[in-house]
Symmetry: C2
Subunit: 125 residues, 2 copies
């Protein structure tokens, strides 16, 4: 699921904002995090620290699918420098366990780990 | 609508991806563009070049509201360096007129101008 190009987008400078969309009662709900905040587990889950993200957590209880865009202006894309991925994933919040510990260890302020199991990752640019 | 901080996010390096969300028949539809592609009109509309964006255009015909996240890792935010805005806007595609010409002049490959009339811009980070 995590091919070399997606890995390059996640790991290369400059750091950049990613966007996560969920469906909420008021419509589309968008939040941001930073590419550099991602940790990747041995089994290719993506972990992000949740500081607030309360509405996202509520939305996931009704529909646990998220869409995420993640881009990097300095990574070569299909036709020019600058590329990005549209990621569809199943998402959960973890407040205990190994994935939570990984996040908490790096981001002591995190109240939870947002755990993404990638369903599909399409390079769009 | 466009305060100094939002202007700083749009205009300052490093260039970064922005995300635009619309409601589509298959759910949430996300696209990306780059902060540096934005042009601002005298009356504070945001213009973006549309290369493809066909699904976004279709979605806007049924519901012309978009949500956009736009961030900059190097601009001071509320608590640390790195900030972003959640923008709600009414969006249309222009294929003629002054706004289209502005976009076409800078981006000859653009098939249209995506014109955003900001309803609300909230600094989220």
């Amino acid at each position: 699921m995590i091919n070399d190009k997606l890995l390059e987008v996640i790991l290369s400078p400059p750091d950049s904002a990613l966007t996560i969309a969920t469906k909420g009662p008021g419509g589309i709900h968008l939040i941001n995090s930073w590419n550099s905040y991602i940790q990747i587990t041995d089994d290719d889950k993506l972990l992000l620290p949740a500081g607030q993200m309360e509405q996202t957590e509520k939305n996931l209880k009704k529909n646990n699918e998220i869409k995420m865009t993640i881009c990097n202006r300095d990574v070569q894309g299909k036709t020019y420098k600058g590329t990005g991925f549209l990621v569809t994933a199943k998402a959960t919040f973890a407040t205990s366990g190994r994935e939570y510990e990984m996040v908490k260890n790096k981001f002591p302020w995190a109240r939870a780990a947002l755990v993404l199991v990638i369903k599909e990752a399409i390079q769009t640019l």
